[in-house]
């Protein structure tokens, strides 16, 4: 921590840069899965099914949480403590709601006869959305840390805390955009 602070000469904070590098590797992971999806689909014997409507709602939920979290960040920067705290809590609830709703989405898929052990088209969707949900859980863990910072520490706008918040914010936007990519990808491939 210390050396980072006193040795910084570039504009971007090394921790933020490290996060971006980590995102690049997560992108590679999902790029691999979606290309495997394409390759397997091209081989035929691929079950087509209608995406349960719940997943559209989920997409809206995670998109909304990105906006609220960004609002919380802007509130923090502007020194509006109440706005910051309220929006942070809302984002956290929306994040939890997303994961829970994903679970219900999987149940809805199961009900229309798309099983994990069935045709690979369903298995791929369970696998990819499940792995994404795990990454969202990581984001929720980061949100918990942000919540602790918000409610335990005395409210103060410092550069260090702004940087810390930005790490959470960027990662959250990342899992949001990642989901939109995955969802649109699966829809377009139907």
């Amino acid at each position: 921590m210390s050396q980072v602070e006193y040795q910084r000469r570039n504009k971007i904070h090394p921790h933020k840069f490290a996060l971006w590098v980590a995102m690049a590797s997560i992108i590679m992971m999902f790029a691999a899965l979606t290309s495997a999806y394409l390759v397997r689909q091209a081989a035929g014997n691929w079950l087509e099914y209608r995406m349960p409507g719940l997943f559209y709602i989920n997409t809206a939920v995670i998109l909304l949480s990105s906006f609220t979290l960004h609002g919380a960040y802007l509130g923090f920067k502007a020194g509006k403590e109440l706005l910051y705290k309220v929006l942070l809590v809302i984002s956290f609830i929306l994040g939890i709601a997303f994961v829970v709703l994903q679970y219900y989405g999987w149940m809805a898929l199961y009900d229309i006869g798309i099983y994990l052990t069935g045709n690979p088209s369903g298995a791929f969707f369970y696998m990819i959305s499940g792995l994404h949900a795990v990454h969202v859980l990581g984001g929720i863990a980061a949100l918990v840390v942000a919540l602790i910072h918000a409610f335990v520490l005395k409210f103060k706008v410092t550069r260090k805390r702004k940087n810390r918040f930005q790490l959470v914010l960027h990662y959250w936007h990342f899992v949001d955009v990642l989901w939109i990519y995955l969802f649109v990808f699966v829809l377009l491939q139907h």
Binding site: Q3, Y6, Q7, P14, F17, V21, A31, R40, T117
Partner: protein
């Protein structure tokens, strides 16, 4: 003379260094306050480097001892291995007349573990983990890594991976035995072979931890190189070691996640009944329910990592060799920029050649053409590098000490092994050569032995920086010559076996009359392997003896090197430099620049003199 130069160098840093106020803040020392935080859960990059190295040495001994055991089976199938019973237990079956034989299942397990351990634990973690950690902050003039905490986690994830893999060696059903590539169905169906059950479960868990370790390390290396260079250290002034580690980290960061994806799918197939990689399989006459998967898909995902992986192994060795060679030839590296561009070219090409591992797996021959072309193009940047190394040696003022010998040995191995790559890269020739000992010979020379040579060059060269003492030079030279001759004696004859079509991974050739006349060759290879293994033990003895009893380092810069790591105190300290950070004024290769001076090197932090022309470097 030398001490005078050293004093002068310290003065330069004291007077003209960059003050980052590091030592005015003592909170950094918090994590080095007691034995555990200093030597075990250390966040200091120099300690973490040593941890990687010593764990790597442990695995190298285990991994190569395994190869000796299966080589004895191949070379001397009739000899009794009963004396191994105390170590291998039930895997040695003793017949009525007292002859002990290696169980065939365990032979496969040994081959698999040998590959996994050497490729991942020794040549990835042990090589790039050690030297990236040691040299990136030291050669760039940084206090430590960007995130010392993640760096510590990187080692401990590797340690966890090691524990899990080591544990799998002692399972009742044995470790995984389906080859280091873990192709399904052997890896996907627990009932497929003895090692496919618990052995494979631990194998995959271990490797997932390992991927996490590589990613955490890689994130740190990249961030440190791009963000924490000292003042004046532009990218084009970085030593080639750093360039190599930097590009290696990028390759690792882009390819290991793909392997992780493959592993996740494999885990689903193993545990949750999906069929990503499985289709229409009968085991013991019974049809399995899994339908619709493709085992080739796994191969694509695996080799998308697997091929870059060989460059993850060889690039750090190349960087180390370039640096060591330049220092001990007392000459600037020939074609510095060409070296960097060829690293970049190799890194780029490494991502578009993976299917050359799958020519015979049913890949469309038309698509194979592309992979053949890109594969052969890799020969171009590789040749550039070889040409530059040889040109660096040409008319150099060579010091033929152990690190230099290993660096030169590396070039020899890289040429011999690289040339056979041109054969194997052709999909037509691969029809004959695939899965034979020719392949084994090729990759062992070009990435196994060559990478080990790079590692040895690095260990002998930077041992004083790591432990403040020198390794024994005589033992080092014996080690070099035995390894150099021994490695060729092991792998050269394998080319002939391969050209005759002898398949790799076979337990025994009893039933193949066509290969019976290779008995003598196989015996020769085995004997050579045992002798070469003995030479490595010599290295291990030398290494550990020298840590405590080696010749002490008395000056800061024993090799008279230009790079910044040799301006730090002999006994490494937290934050690396006691006061200010050195400021860099020149590139890393100002050797023998001024013929009139009796000092034939100018360290990177020396300001330019009046008669020097400012160049881009």
């Amino acid at each position: 003379m030398a001490s005078q130069v050293a004093v002068e160098q310290d003065a330069i840093i004291r007077e003209e260094g960059y003050d980052d106020h590091f030592h005015e803040h003592h909170h950094g020392d918090k994590y080095q306050s007691n034995f555990i935080t200093t030597y075990i859960f250390s966040q200091d990059h120099k300690i973490i480097a040593r941890q990687f190295l010593i764990t790597g040495i442990f695995w190298a001994i285990v991994g190569s001892a395994m190869s000796i055991i299966f080589r004895m089976q191949l070379g001397f199938p009739e000899e009794s291995l009963a004396w191994l019973k105390p170590i291998l237990g039930k895997w040695i079956t003793i017949s009525a007349d007292g002859v002990g034989t290696l169980a065939p299942e365990f032979y496969y397990a040994l081959v698999t573990m040998h590959g996994t351990i050497i490729v991942f634990f020794v040549l990835t973690a042990g090589l790039s983990g050690t030297f990236s950690n040691l040299l990136i902050p030291l050669q760039l003039g940084a206090r430590d890594m960007a995130s010392p905490f993640l760096n510590m986690l990187s080692y401990w994830f590797f340690f966890l991976a090691s524990i899990v893999m080591f544990f799998s060696l002692f399972l009742n059903t044995g470790p995984f035995s389906g080859g280091w590539t873990a192709y399904p169905p052997l890896s996907a169906l627990p009932q497929a072979s003895t090692g496919s059950g618990a052995g494979m479960t631990l194998w995959i868990v271990s490797l997932v931890f390992f991927v996490v370790s590589v990613l955490l390390g890689g994130i740190n290396y990249i961030t440190t190189v791009l963000n924490l260079r000292t003042k004046g250290m532009s990218l084009w002034r970085m030593p080639l070691t750093i360039w190599a580690f930097f590009i290696t980290a990028i390759i690792g960061l882009l390819s290991f996640p793909v392997l992780a994806s493959g592993f996740f799918l494999l885990m689903f197939d193993r545990g949750l009944g999906t069929s990503f990689f499985l289709s229409e399989i009968y085991i013991a006459g019974e049809a399995l329910p899994q339908v619709g998967g493709s085992p080739i898909l796994y191969q694509h995902l695996f080799w998308f990592l697997g091929h870059p992986e060989v460059y993850i192994i060889i690039l750090p060795a190349m960087g180390i060799v370039s640096e060591v060679m330049s220092v001990h030839a007392r000459k600037p590296i020939f074609g510095y920029r060409a070296m960097v561009y060829s690293i970049l070219a190799i890194a780029f090409l490494s991502f578009i050649v993976w299917a050359h591992h799958m020519f015979m797996a049913g890949v469309n021959p038309f698509i194979s053409n592309f992979f053949v072309i890109f594969t052969l193009i890799i020969a171009v940047p590789s040749a550039v590098k070889v040409f530059n190394w040889i040109s660096t040696l040409y008319k150099g003022n060579l010091r033929l000490n152990t690190p230099m010998l290993f660096a030169i040995g590396f070039v020899s191995m890289f040429i011999s092994g690289g040339l056979t790559g041109i054969f194997l890269g052709n999909s037509a020739i691969d029809i004959v050569m695939h899965d034979t000992y020719f392949v084994v010979a090729h990759f062992h020379i070009v990435m196994g032995v060559a990478a080990f040579f790079g590692m040895f060059a690095g260990v002998y060269n930077w041992f004083p920086k790591m432990f403040g003492r020198f390794m024994n030079e005589t033992l080092g030279k014996i080690h070099f010559w035995m390894t150099m001759i021994g490695a060729y004696a092991i792998f050269w004859p394998m080319h002939y076996l391969g050209m005759a079509g002898v398949p790799r991974r076979y337990y025994s050739f009893d039933t193949f009359d066509a290969f019976s006349h290779f008995d003598g060759t196989n015996k020769f290879i085995t004997i050579a392997a045992i002798i070469t293994f003995g030479a490595q033990l010599l290295f291990v003895v030398n290494f550990f003896y020298s840590i405590w009893y080696g010749k002490k380092m008395t000056t800061k810069n024993p090799w008279q090197s230009t790079t910044l790591e040799w301006t730090t105190p002999i006994k490494g300290i937290h934050g690396n430099w006691p006061g200010k950070l050195p400021v860099v004024h020149r590139w890393a290769y100002d050797y023998s620049k001024d013929e009139t001076s009796d000092v034939d090197f100018i360290p990177q932090h020396h300001p330019l003199t009046e008669n020097e022309v400012r160049t881009e470097h």
